[in-house]
């Protein structure tokens, strides 16, 4: 076996000077939205299900909570996270089967991910308010 010795290559990991291309932004937002959904989304979803399914009173209680503006904003953050994670995930699945791998379609599809997830969030926001 020949051990692989990595060649020293120039490296720039300075976040202030890196200008991430759109597919890169979609990718890091996929990660960030996933982290948010894990950290807060799962426990809040389980708690919400528990209370809302327990009784008619619990269901009404959750409904009242959702009427609060701060809760609406939080909900909207989750809706965007879910929409972005969903759309970007579909894009990654398509890339897995070699659809849209070339640079132009890859850029276009990442733009679509941003637009569609923001439009879905906007629609949800309008419906909430």
């Amino acid at each position: 076996m020949v051990p692989i010795v990595p060649k020293p290559r120039p490296k720039n990991l300075d976040l202030r000077t890196i200008r991430l291309p759109l597919p890169g932004i979609v990718s890091i937002l996929h990660r960030a939205s996933g982290a948010l959904l894990f950290l807060l989304g799962i426990p809040l979803m389980l708690a919400g299900l528990q209370v809302s399914l327990h009784s008619r009173e619990g269901f009404a209680e959750v409904g009242t909570m959702f009427a609060h503006p701060a809760v609406k904003l939080l909900l909207l953050a989750f809706i965007w996270s879910f929409a972005h994670h969903f759309c970007a995930g579909i894009r990654f699945l398509l890339l897995d089967v070699h659809k849209g791998v070339k640079i132009e379609p890859a850029r276009t599809s990442s733009l679509w991910v941003m637009i569609v997830s923001l439009l879905l969030t906007l629609a949800a926001g309008v419906a909430l308010w």
């Binding site: 076996m1 020949v2 692989i4 990660r31 996933g34 982290a35 959904l37 894990f38 799962i42 426990p43 389980l46 299900l49 528990q50 809302s52 399914l53 008619r56 269901f59 009404a60 879910f82 969903f86 995930g89 579909i90 699945l93 897995d96 419906a127």
Partner: protein, 115 residues
């Protein structure tokens, strides 16, 4: 041809596949869920309760939950592997996340079966 030392056969493939299968399960469930509930807004308790009380809804929801927890595990582990270099810290966090996800799994099963 370069000879590589690959540790743990199929180790990466299994997680890669798990991430994608769980993603597809969740995507299908989410679309079905939204198609069912969006036209019925504003919801009432009976409709909401009926979805989870029905055996099909219950099992589909449970499948969604288990997919979610496995998916979260692969994702969180990837994040830890990328950003947390000290082994002890990373290992401790991974154990913590596994325990947390197990608690969530038990919570999900308990709450679905109490309906």
């Amino acid at each position: 041809m370069v000879n590589r030392i690959v540790v743990g056969a199929h180790y990466g493939l299994r997680d890669w596949l798990l991430q994608r299968i769980s993603a597809i399960v969740m995507a299908l469930y989410s679309v079905a869920f939204l198609l069912c509930f969006l036209p019925r807004l504003p919801l009432n308790f009976e409709e909401w309760h009926a979805w989870f009380a029905h055996p099909v809804g219950k099992i589909a929801t449970l499948l969604f939950m288990l997919s979610l927890l496995l998916h979260a595990w692969v994702g969180v582990r990837d994040i830890f592997m990328d950003y947390i270099k000290p082994f002890g810290l990373r290992f401790s966090l991974q154990v913590l996340v596994i325990l947390l996800l197990l608690v969530y799994a038990l919570w999900a099963v308990a709450l679905l079966w109490s309906i």
